[in-house]
């Protein structure tokens, strides 16, 4: 399994993500530079968190024009896996690789804290090692993470099981009514508590929470075992899916 982590000017979590993939997960991981269109044959491209190009215009609006994004779009069109985290999610929406958009948080303030997420769907490359209904604790840190899309798009994604994670209370419950005050568990006002969505081709996933910051046991072990490595399940799911596809392919070629 080979990973590529893109560095845009202004990417901040690229080093952290690469550290987790390389040193904690133990996988081959290469840095991908925004000015290059060469993906170096990676199985999965990760667009990391940060403030690409300063995000002064609109989050992700400039990054989508960079040379690497042309290559990422071709990679995705060919069925290759793409994971967008936070700013990476914003870039994928701006690039049209994922539906919807991310706008200013409900409280108009940057928010950084642990949130609880419910895994909604597992038949996909990104959460296949979880059980549906699992509750994960993973931090968010963003000023523009409120997910919006028109109702038809949201309905379609629900029907096709493409909303992979939603914000929820620690016991996994959510408010029944969209108009209820959900500020106790939904950090940004996202429609239908969406935390992460997948494309119709089921190979591109974007989410606002940061799995790379809930992945390193050496870090999570402090504070009296406060955090579990829930974020690691996403990276492990991707690796598992890639391995399985490879086994199927080699089994097919032997036949």
């Amino acid at each position: 399994m080979k990973w590529g982590v893109v560095t845009f000017p202004g990417s901040n979590d690229d080093r952290d993500t690469a550290h987790v993939l390389r040193s904690v997960l133990g996988h081959e991981t290469v840095a991908l530079w925004h000015k290059s269109a060469d993906l170096q044959g990676v199985d999965c491209v990760v667009l990391p968190g940060g403030f690409s190009y300063g995000d002064y215009l609109r989050c992700g609006a400039i990054a989508r024009f960079s040379p690497i994004m042309g290559a990422v779009a071709r990679h995705a069109a060919g069925g290759g896996l793409v994971l967008g985290i936070c700013n990476g999610f914003q870039v994928l929406c701006e690039a049209g690789l994922l539906p919807g958009a991310l706008v200013r948080n409900r409280d108009l303030r940057f928010v950084c804290r642990d949130v609880t997420l419910r895994v909604e769907s597992i038949s996909n490359p990104f959460t296949n090692l979880a059980f549906a209904g699992d509750v994960w604790r993973i931090p968010v840190k963003h000023g523009e993470g409120c997910y919006v899309a028109d109702p038809a798009t949201l309905d379609e994604m629900e029907r096709e099981a493409r909303i992979l994670v939603r914000y929820c209370r620690p016991d996994g419950s959510r408010a029944r009514d969209e108009s209820a005050d959900r500020s106790d568990y939904n950090p940004n006002g996202s429609a239908r508590d969406v935390a992460g969505v997948m494309n119709a081709g089921r190979n591109v996933f974007g989410l606002m929470p940061h799995p790379e910051h809930a992945a390193d046991p050496a870090i999570l072990g402090a504070e009296g075992g406060r955090r579990r490595a829930d974020g690691m399940r996403i990276f492990q799911s991707i690796a598992h899916w890639v391995d399985q596809r490879r086994e199927q392919a080699s089994a097919g070629s032997m036949r």
Binding site: G10, S11, D16, C112, H213, I219, A222
Partner: protein
């Protein structure tokens, strides 16, 4: 105000010099040394270099007394930041710096550029910043400016720190009417570097080119150092808003990566960031450190706008710029790195051997002044006078009737409630090394890729300092050290940010002298070096000075396998108090909130007792005896209990607790007094005898107070409140205070 606009080139006269802020004596020294009347540009350059902010002319005489050496010290004061060894060939580089006046005038940009400035000080030395802290002071919450300042400053710190990808892992904030007219914003950053690769700002190599990299130079921030930072506020201060710079964290992020790449490839001889007084002070300081001359050609400086004069280019404080000296053969490589990061890199000058500071513009020489004249103005020994003792009322304060009610008031009060509203707006995860997040006694960050765990804290109780600046400053050192020890870390170095009023007033200089003595004595006792720091004078408005605020930033190294944390872990654990309690109510938050009293003597301080306490806690941490450890400070034992019950991170369950009163003490002094040198710890039952023996061995009193468990906090028969109630009040109070009226 008769000041000419900076676009003109007026005749230089003694009157103009006075308007610039030069004293008659300084004017005479300048003319005498030059043997002529200075040019307009020379006057501007001398003014900023001799400003209080750049020259430390009032403080240098006193700062010499601070201890600055030690086994771990790699770089003491005099560079952009100090550096202390943490083993494994690595050093931490750190400094705390003020950005008070800009933040009061324009809170978002003032605070943001304060963060940008301290970050540059760290990566200028080749260290990658891994954590930031901040220490904030605001006026009374009811003052009309306070809430807007809090919201703007916090958003500005977050806006810059979050964007550049350095975690803000902790800090402190206090409210006091003494800061109504002058808030304080002190920013701290710590970075990590291989000791052998530390980059210095000492120019060397005659003929070597000088490059200016980063942002273009504009008309922003002209005279920030001399006008804004080196004069007190008055009714016209709002007019100084144009002297506040505007930050661009994106460009700083590029500058950070480019600078570290230049360092990694060993391309530079010396690097110096452009901060206060911009191109002037950075180039003068580099040349001065190397005892060389320098010549600059302003026609080569990339500009943001046309028609800028030499005066404006020299004094611009445009942010995100860096000066680099390299060997001639390296220029192309440095420009290549900058091109990779989409930054400009222009050769703007070269080093010379004649000790002269020369600047050319449009082909003409506009400045030719000896470097040493600009860099080394004489240190002043300003008059010092102890103010007459305030009359201390000797009546005995009445004991409160309803302790439940008192505790509820304290928990919701501005200086004791949880600061979560603030740190929720700071990215404290980025970097991937944060072990103990904001809200603990100290923040702890792992150096990723190693086992090294660095703890850091900022502390100062300025009420103690107002009552007795010597004792107050000593306590700031003691408390910072205690916060590190409570996290399982051994203190290894100090950076100080000394915020005071107008140094021309003898009673302010007395406060300063006393505070420096307090820091010195405490640091000598603890064998701690002060490796970097900053002095901010003129923090006063219309003659009213802030309370003396010598903010202490302290860094430690965690010895135990895991850092200690402050909250109670499990029902059944025993609660112990280490250290001596005295009947000390004066100067406490309790006295201020319940009795409206802010007078008297601050708590007793005993360096030996503090050190013995350190030994007990660190020894217990080494043997993994402690389940939790928390410093007892503002709000006394009662607040320490509240915090140990309620500061549990999300996702873990809160514990109640029950403790008994000590005999022979007034209950209010026992619960709310702020005696120093105390720690509240919890231990599994089977470890308590080992803890008791360890404490006895070091002569530290240890008292078994009670047990963890249940869902209420019970303080003898005086207080009984469900912890869920306390936690809701404690966590929500800050937001209720600063958001109230936000949308009106």
């Amino acid at each position: 105000m008769g000041r000419p606009t900076t676009s003109e080139r007026p005749p230089v006269t003694p009157e103009l010099a006075r308007e610039h802020g030069l004293t008659a004596e300084e004017w005479e020294r300048l003319c005498a040394r030059l043997g002529r009347v200075p040019t307009y540009e020379e006057l501007g350059v001398a003014t900023v270099m001799w400003s209080e902010h750049c020259s430390y002319k009032s403080s240098r005489f006193h700062l010499r007394r601070l201890p600055t050496t030690g086994d771990r010290v790699v770089q003491g004061p005099g560079e952009n930041a100090g550096a202390v060894s943490i083993g494994g060939g690595l050093a931490v580089v750190f400094k705390i710096e003020s950005h008070n006046h800009p933040s009061y005038i324009e809170p978002y940009q003032g605070a943001a550029t304060g963060v940008g400035g301290i970050l540059r000080d760290i990566f200028t030395m080749g260290a990658r910043p891994i954590a930031s802290l901040n220490s904030l002071r605001f006026g009374d919450p009811s003052h009309p400016k306070t809430r807007g300042l809090v919201r703007g400053v916090v958003a500005g710190i977050g806006g810059y720190g979050n964007s550049i990808g350095v975690p803000t892992v902790g800090g402190e904030v206090y409210f006091d009417h003494g800061y109504d007219g002058n808030c304080l914003v002190n920013a701290f950053t710590l970075g990590v570097v291989e000791e052998s690769r530390l980059m210095l700002a000492k120019a060397s190599g005659v003929g070597n080119p000088v490059l200016l990299i980063g942002s273009r130079t504009g008309r922003d921030g002209i005279h920030g150092a001399s006008l804004l930072a080196s004069a007190e506020f008055d009714a016209t201060s709002e007019e100084k808003r144009p002297t506040v710079q505007v930050g661009d964290p994106f460009t700083e992020k590029l500058l950070l990566e480019a600078t570290l790449e230049i360092q990694a490839a060993d391309l530079a001889v010396a690097v110096q960031d452009l901060g206060a007084a911009g191109l002037t002070s950075s180039s003068v300081e580099m040349a001065s450190r190397g005892e060389l001359g320098i010549e600059l050609d302003l026609d080569q400086v990339p500009l943001r706008e046309t028609g800028m004069t030499a005066y404006e280019i020299m004094l611009s404080e445009s942010q995100e710029r860096m000066l680099v000296v390299c060997e001639p053969a390296r220029v192309a490589e440095i420009q290549e790195v900058c091109r990779k990061w989409d930054l400009e890199a222009a050769v703007v000058g070269r080093l010379t051997d004649d000790g002269t500071y020369r600047v050319r513009h449009h082909g003409a020489e506009v400045i030719a002044v000896p470097v040493d004249l600009l860099a080394d103005p004489p240190a002043l020994e300003r008059p010092v006078a102890e103010p007459a003792d305030a009359e201390v009322a000797s009546e005995v304060l009445p004991e409160p009737g309803d302790y439940d009610e008192v505790l509820r008031r304290l928990v919701a009060s501005p200086n004791l409630c949880s600061r979560q509203w603030i740190w929720d707006q700071y990215d404290h995860f980025v970097g991937g090394g944060t072990l103990v997040h904001p809200g603990g006694d100290a923040a702890v960050v792992q150096v990723v890729g190693t086992d090294l765990k660095v703890a850091m804290t900022v502390d100062c109780n300025s009420r103690y300092c107002l009552l007795d600046p010597y004792v107050g400053a000593s306590i700031a050192i003691c408390e910072a050290a205690r916060n590190l020890v409570a996290s399982g870390a051994e203190p290894i170095g100090v950076s100080d940010c000394l915020n005071f009023g107008n140094p021309e007033r003898p009673e302010i200089m007395w406060q300063f002298e006393q505070a420096v003595n307090g820091i010195r004595d405490a640091c000598v006792a603890f064998r701690l070096p002060v490796v970097s720091g900053n002095v901010s004078f003129y923090n006063e408005t219309e003659g009213r000075a802030i309370p003396p605020t010598p903010t202490i930033a302290m860094v430690g190294l965690v010895r135990a396998p895991q850092p200690l944390t402050s909250w109670f872990k499990s029902a059944g654990h025993e609660i112990w108090l280490l250290g001596s309690s005295r009947e000390e109510i004066a100067g406490s938050e309790f006295a201020a909130i319940v009795h409206g009293r802010r007078d008297g003597a601050p708590p007793w301080v005993d360096f030996r007792a503090e050190q013995a306490l350190h030994q007990v806690v660190l020894g217990a941490a080494d043997r993994s005896l402690l389940a939790s450890c928390h410093d007892v400070s503002e709000g006394g034992l009662a607040m320490a209990m509240v915090e140990a019950c309620c500061s549990v991170p999300d996702g873990l369950s809160m514990q109640g607790a029950r403790i008994r009163l000590a005999e022979g003490m007034r209950p209010d002094a026992w619960l709310f007094g702020e005696s120093q040198g105390r720690m509240l710890v919890s231990v599994p039952r089977e470890s308590s005898s080992a803890l008791r023996d360890l404490a006895a061995g070091h002569g530290v009193p240890a008292m078994h107070l009670g047990e963890v468990g249940g869902s209420t906090l019970e303080l003898d028969d005086l207080v009984s409140i469900p912890v869920a109630d306390l936690a809701a009040t404690w966590r929500g109070a800050f937001g209720r205070m600063v958001d109230a009226g936000a949308r009106t």
